[in-house]
Symmetry: C2
Subunit: 187 residues, 2 copies
């Protein structure tokens, strides 16, 4: 992952790491399959029976992990409105990337107390999206096994805050710091 980020990633002004050429928008599927195998290995034997992600950029990696782990994948949808109906679990999330608020919802049919859930996403920065998914897991009465992330921007603190709460967070690439012309990884 570190080699891939160094070879393909671009640092944009404002601390944005652009990895559209292999992880978003254009997906390197051989690399996607490798990431899925590694996540399945990390969480093998943990009794995961459901993967939860949020649309849209998390879907590809979540689906790939689900195929390898042979468990169903559920994805939360992003709604603009905050209206709640009785048929969904939901959490309000603020996106710092886009400067917007949205409501993340999952039908009650698709997650429940019998589930041992692995959260999968492409990016972890401040942790807003993961925190929303964790609320949904709690509402469903399901058990959170942990989180699996392609790229964590450690300097934004979301991952470490979750780890301090005792939540297992595994990130395949961990960026400790980033400037316009250098990327430092946590090892």
């Amino acid at each position: 992952m570190q080699e891939m980020i160094l070879a393909e990633g671009k640092v944009l002004p404002g601390g944005i790491l652009k990895v559209g050429s292999f992880l978003n928008q254009k997906i390197d599927t051989a690399f996607l399959a490798e990431m899925a195998e590694e996540i399945a290995r990390l969480y093998g034997g943990c009794g995961v029976n459901k993967i939860l992600t949020v649309e849209s950029s998390g879907i590809a990696i979540a689906a790939a992990v689900g195929i390898v782990m042979k468990v169903p994948v559920v994805f939360a949808k992003k709604h603009r409105s905050s209206n709640v109906d009785g048929e969904t679990y939901g959490a309000d999330v603020h996106s710092f990337t886009h400067g917007t608020d949205y409501r993340m919802v999952v039908s009650r049919d698709y997650i429940g107390p019998e589930d041992r859930v692995l959260l999968v996403d492409d990016f972890l920065a401040n942790g807003q999206a993961l925190n929303g998914l964790i609320k949904i897991v709690e509402q469903a009465g399901a058990e959170l096994v942990g989180c699996a992330i392609a790229i964590e921007k450690c300097f934004q603190g979301g991952g470490d805050a979750l780890r301090e709460k005792g939540i297992r967070v595994e990130s395949l690439g961990m960026i400790e710091s980033m400037t316009d012309d250098s990327i430092t990884f946590r090892v």
Copy 2:
């Protein structure tokens, strides 16, 4: 696919087929892998070197097909605004399902004249989304090899209109007609 639709699908008022329990929102990954294998078989030997889909429900099946066919997957993003910059290909699309218009965009970096493109999506109804993707393939000067769809609602005509233009469209489940209590497949 027919068995899956009959076992899991629900027909909602207004001709809507709900397959959230295996194809959207909750994805049956064993079935997803089977669909991907079948699509890879159908388009094997056609020289496909890129898969194009549109966020978000098409991403899972496109990624799965990409892994099997060992080619990169590109997904078009949906934007609300119709502003065009020089860095993207784009097409304006009307969504009958949601009653909204959006602009579908793909970075010029991710598709070009060297590409032989397979379009992959979960649903084909009136063909608005596929027509948008076809415009993007044309703008890129790429070659369209064909389309692979999980479920086609034939009675909405989009698939047959494309076939009449000479475009290869392969749909794994083809619904000829649908009433509140019956589903008829095209065989």
